[in-house]
Symmetry: D2
Subunit: 347 residues, 4 copies
Amino acid sequence: MIKAGIIGSTGYAGQELMRLLMQHPECQPQVITSKTYKNNKYENVYGNFMNITSLECIEDEIDKLANDTDVLFIALPHGIASNKISESILSKTKVIDLGADFRIKDVSTYEDWYSVAHGNPNLLKNSVYGLCELNRDKIKRSNLIGNPGCYTTCSILSLTPLLKENIIDISSIIVDAKSGVSGAGRSLNLGTHYTECNESIKAYKIASHRHTPEIEQELSNVANSKVTISFTPHLVPMNRGILITAYANLNGKYTYNNIKEIYNKYYRDEQFIRLLPEGIYPETRWVKGSNYCDINFAIDKRTGRIIIIGAIDNLIKGAAGQAVQNMNIMFGFEESTGLNMIPGFPM
Amino acid sequence: MIKAGIIGSTGYAGQELMRLLMQHPECQPQVITSKTYKNNKYENVYGNFMNITSLECIEDEIDKLANDTDVLFIALPHGIASNKISESILSKTKVIDLGADFRIKDVSTYEDWYSVAHGNPNLLKNSVYGLCELNRDKIKRSNLIGNPGCYTTCSILSLTPLLKENIIDISSIIVDAKSGVSGAGRSLNLGTHYTECNESIKAYKIASHRHTPEIEQELSNVANSKVTISFTPHLVPMNRGILITAYANLNGKYTYNNIKEIYNKYYRDEQFIRLLPEGIYPETRWVKGSNYCDINFAIDKRTGRIIIIGAIDNLIKGAAGQAVQNMNIMFGFEESTGLNMIPGFPM
Amino acid sequence: MIKAGIIGSTGYAGQELMRLLMQHPECQPQVITSKTYKNNKYENVYGNFMNITSLECIEDEIDKLANDTDVLFIALPHGIASNKISESILSKTKVIDLGADFRIKDVSTYEDWYSVAHGNPNLLKNSVYGLCELNRDKIKRSNLIGNPGCYTTCSILSLTPLLKENIIDISSIIVDAKSGVSGAGRSLNLGTHYTECNESIKAYKIASHRHTPEIEQELSNVANSKVTISFTPHLVPMNRGILITAYANLNGKYTYNNIKEIYNKYYRDEQFIRLLPEGIYPETRWVKGSNYCDINFAIDKRTGRIIIIGAIDNLIKGAAGQAVQNMNIMFGFEESTGLNMIPGFPM
Amino acid sequence: MIKAGIIGSTGYAGQELMRLLMQHPECQPQVITSKTYKNNKYENVYGNFMNITSLECIEDEIDKLANDTDVLFIALPHGIASNKISESILSKTKVIDLGADFRIKDVSTYEDWYSVAHGNPNLLKNSVYGLCELNRDKIKRSNLIGNPGCYTTCSILSLTPLLKENIIDISSIIVDAKSGVSGAGRSLNLGTHYTECNESIKAYKIASHRHTPEIEQELSNVANSKVTISFTPHLVPMNRGILITAYANLNGKYTYNNIKEIYNKYYRDEQFIRLLPEGIYPETRWVKGSNYCDINFAIDKRTGRIIIIGAIDNLIKGAAGQAVQNMNIMFGFEESTGLNMIPGFPM
């Protein structure tokens, strides 16, 4: 039984991590921190934990936390983790950062998009981008993981096989993404006040969302060529779920089956990727509460495009679930340990 | 590993049962039936099961099912189970009926409220009302369980201690109940068409809902006196959850703590009942996805009333979860086996 | 064309007032104030007004406002209006206060429930409780209206005929009320953050909600006897609407038609009260976007109770619509002027 | 006062038409038909009309209807209207068809996409595509209008100025569209059962939705060149509203202001099109309950694309409101008569 700490346990990602870890057979959350809810019992912050845990939120003292744990999950806004983590910390505990600080390899790209100086660029060469299905081997050997963003996970997994096999025009990629409101976190904001976002849909951060460079970095790696995409996120009136609808021009004529073989080649053995049968497309309801990423695509013959649909639960495969999957890989547990939840319906 | 069958596996209760049983360490769903989806793969009926099960829905032949299983769950509309089940069936398998046929002990009451003849009144003397917390010992020795309704479970658990200790006027009980839409099932109906019930609330079956006599039967047993209640269900635009707000006149002057002691007396050791701290009331979000029943109350000094609030997940503690809890008791498993889900939030 | 001012124009009630007044043929909103959005164009505060109004929010200077308008609507939190309004102000303009300060006639009751000193108790003897259907004549002659609360309007209208005719036990009244989230206003609050209240229902302020004494005051007037009630509000995941489910013991045996006659007696000629046909109960969807109050009831023969259901749009008949109705009465306009909207569906 | 008939008055578009026409100062709905609800009072079909209309649904006899009305609105599934309407009917009354039969000018395109024979291709040369802002003059002179689809209206209005001025690559247009559930109508369907579509988003009819050829036809007219697009509709868990996010490659370098001038050129004087200020994008909540189409765009410099966002209320500007706007044009009424509703919020 390994010991885990969660820094920033009272945001939605932190809370989902708490829920998953408390049900994990090989790991126990030992210490949890919160700035806002310091010295509060966790069950008073999240009523679902009533009678389930007696843990209390403490202030975070990173050195002590590093000493007391085998793994530290960090679920804080960007710009903080990179100032907390150091070689010394990493010599004592493994770190899985759910924020952006260790995702972007290029410091200037990070600083451009996030408008903040990176706290410790030296660590970037050792950190691994924790998209489990793509970087499993590196993750296994790493002690510092940049856990991918929610939009990012869904977009990269949906597009990777096409880029690996070079069958789409990499200058033509558009990702139109839709997210449930939990993606915006628990901080109060007029835009996520119930009556302001219920019964409405909007696009936001058009051509400027911070997950864009992250998607481009990974797709460029996969394509061995610089990929630039258009990425438009939308806020959908539902608690959870991300759906991405991606568009790209095909480099030639392909049948559905041709391309399905490509997806099979890369994902056939992935337990958390489900390639749906022809004509059945991902819907967020079918992955809710699980670590699955559902994928399918259609060929739009009239325009020569492929349209790819992907769906995940943003708080699980898009955050806490993938963090646990990374932990499983890092510690040599069976990769699906504690993650075998069947999606709940209707949830 | 025991073998289970689910008759009526494609309604929402059947589906939730399927989900819980597939994740149960001591039980495997072996055979599932469906009239509507006969010969369909289950994953095509419910996309959340994609790649998770290869089971196919078959037509139900009760004798064969009884031979092939250790326990049969029946999730059908009322009036069918009582015609399927016989002493002979019960000699081969245990039966947990999620419908109404074996809940009401008095045949004429059943027939009055359900407007259908009971198929096998003889079985009623051996059947047990499967409200686990109240009838645990009888359930252990039974092979035919009438699994309680959703409104019923929440109402009875919330009120029982007060009746046991005779501190309320039993002629004054009112239960104002609120349910999510999944309680209405998967059958198409204008009232549960999205645009007809979204963004609206209504009362329905006022003074005539069929869960009324079931609540009255059990409360009368508890009170050792005939209890008649007013019960008003409401349809709330959300997928899951039941909240009941119950009102009764107190027989004397009591403090919150006096009455809390009474609740503690009966529920202190119940792992699925959470008595919330003073001033914190149940909300359906805190039990969603779990087998918990949360309860608390307030004393309305100005009127001499007690107001009791209870909350459950209608498909779990109000249906499939309680059915599994009954199975655990009947087979001597640890009662919480397969039911330890922490409520999911925000779900 | 009369000139109106709205003090507190950027809360939800203020905004709805703005919308109704801009569409009113006899009145024009001339000046609007806002503390939070001072010096902002209204269309930037509420995007629905884009290109529709060029009005800007100003700081409120009550004397100037009184001079410049024929009627002032005040939509502020309690405790402010009573410090702003004076005889001098009332000599210049008529005032319709949507807050609580002029609703409760008994100062000590007001101060007990609101925990604030009343700013000008002298004005209370001249102010009129603006429930149009009950106090039409007094409203006509008044220049200071305490516009009723949302829960209150629906509760009082639903119960009044029963109390007028003395057919229920006035010590037995329970009002179980359900409200959409807009009732909580636009101020940020964790409880009305989308992901915190979506897909859940809860009771709140049990036995302590401030609309209780207001309902009791008016019902006591109607009954000519002190009425004390139990009142439980609930938060429902929808934007708009209030449904109340009220319970009372009947003083004798009555048929549905007996009691329907009583309702007809009082409401037959009311254009904003719709008495539904037997067996059809109010649902909030059918009044959304309108000034209607729908009412019906059932007799629960088994318990001797009457169960009354009422529904309104909380921002219209429960706030801005009723305020306009009061204005129409005060200025001698046809009472329904600017209020003839057919409810929108599905909205 | 002209007399209107509504054929198919009990679908959602028919109902919204009924609501708008009953509030229209120059037109009265005189006769309404319904196959499903024949001989039912309208207020019993739609509770919002309770006490508001005594009209009853009758069976449709097209000749009698034509004789008795000045204008006939048809809100039926495709394939029916073209069999009902003839030169003879059109000699007696004007027809505005909200279905697809008179929208597509090319019979074979219609028959390909709708898989049904067109009932009266001869009429197509006289029918006018009723997108008011584009075809106002032709509408004025016509007596047969094909009222545009909901997705279509929003897509065409959002894209037209770009095509008029030839600033985008017409082979690069992608429209990613999102609709509320009322777009699917009132017919029962598992996909629009509350618990099946609530809290989830999905794409549907990918590369095969029937509004595609309609958008292409009009954009081709505007561009004077054959336009082929990719169109992907999505179902969003909300009652009303359409948002479209469109992508196209710019033919050169343009600033926001360059392109804004183009939009201004075409839409400056349009009272139902609102061009939002830079950086503020359409959201469906700001048009709900109104006839507005809100439009804005961003330039994605990194990719050379323009991203255009448009929003409408699908039942108003996307159906009934535009039908009334067409009627106003045809009869010489002020174009906005009966359509000046300020969007309601929060609705």
